[in-house]
Symmetry: C3
Subunit: 136 residues, 3 copies
């Protein structure tokens, strides 16, 4: 399992990490299997979404801010970042992507995004590459 560092530069941010994971996969020599991407944080996440038009990322972040506004009268958590915890559970802290012919199997418009919901911070991302068992 490899650990990558991801530095966010804003309070909420989606950072495209597809190329970094593909590079790791290329170095591994694995032709077929699974890539698991884990975020060991509770106010961050990882998602798969469009990587062609950056306005999609803008709109997703604005939507999440609308669905999970930073302040709520009922919040008890003293750190004040409960909205980031909600976003983390709604989006999820890990993704799995199949591997074929040494490439991540993603749709034409799909990229893998590290999701920062309480930045800016230096974060970790864990990548586990699992080769398919050889056919018997």
């Amino acid at each position: 399992m490899e650990t990558m560092t991801v530095k966010s530069t804003a309070h909420a941010e989606l950072i495209d990490v597809t190329d970094r994971i593909q590079t790791l996969l290329g170095d591994s020599g694995i032709a077929s299997g699974l890539a698991m991407i884990h975020v060991p944080h509770t106010t961050a996440a990882v998602t798969i979404n469009e990587n062609a038009d950056p306005t999609v990322v803008h709109d997703i972040l604005a939507d999440l801010e609308r669905v999970a506004p930073w302040r709520q009268s009922y919040y008890r958590h003293a750190e004040g970042n409960s909205a980031a915890h909600l976003k983390s559970s709604m989006i999820g802290c890990w993704q799995t992507v199949p591997i074929e012919k040494g490439r991540l199997v993603l749709g034409t418009w799909q990229g893998i995004y590290f999701c920062e919901f309480d930045g800016p911070r230096t974060r970790r991302m864990l990548v586990k590459l699992i080769a398919d068992a050889p056919e018997g």
Copy 2:
């Protein structure tokens, strides 16, 4: 990895694909392992939810429309389908289901649904079946 075609007939729709995946699993002869279902699209998703009473599907779709209405004043994405991108990241574009005794391990009321959020369209769904390694 198998590619299936899914045709949606509405703008937002949940399509039960459990039987198709179970059939693929039956053909594979795999007794024990994992089934991974991937949607290589950024305005669609895949989820597991009740397959007994169709009103549940109606209510989930209506809820998602309420949580992610089609129009927002802050949207910048020119294609106009940002709400579908949000839904895709909230629900997720893949699922994994364990396999035992040649069957998908699902609860009594669970089915696997392809989620169309910007249809109608012809979509793809990827299914990877992974057999457990033989015990040593």
Copy 3:
């Protein structure tokens, strides 16, 4: 695959199951691999989030109640628990956690929570532990 029983005591509740899964992992003797946690229910879920400060759990539950209120005029499902179905699909009914050195790989503040959205009930949770294939 092991089946665990989880008893919820409230209508909506997050129950920390990390220790139970870690114990199962310890008993298995698996050093490296994957732990898959599946909830075979459509009004429950499983998530990974902060396990240090219980106010985070309070705030997440309150947030989900705001995002998915129990009553909606458009609901058709006669059982009246559509909000719980929505939450289940938004959070997801399973999680995968990597295993290294016989331990679940979780961040410092991460715990695994069974999510009850229509309790109190006695629920099931399935845990499948998969050892990495030995290196060739």
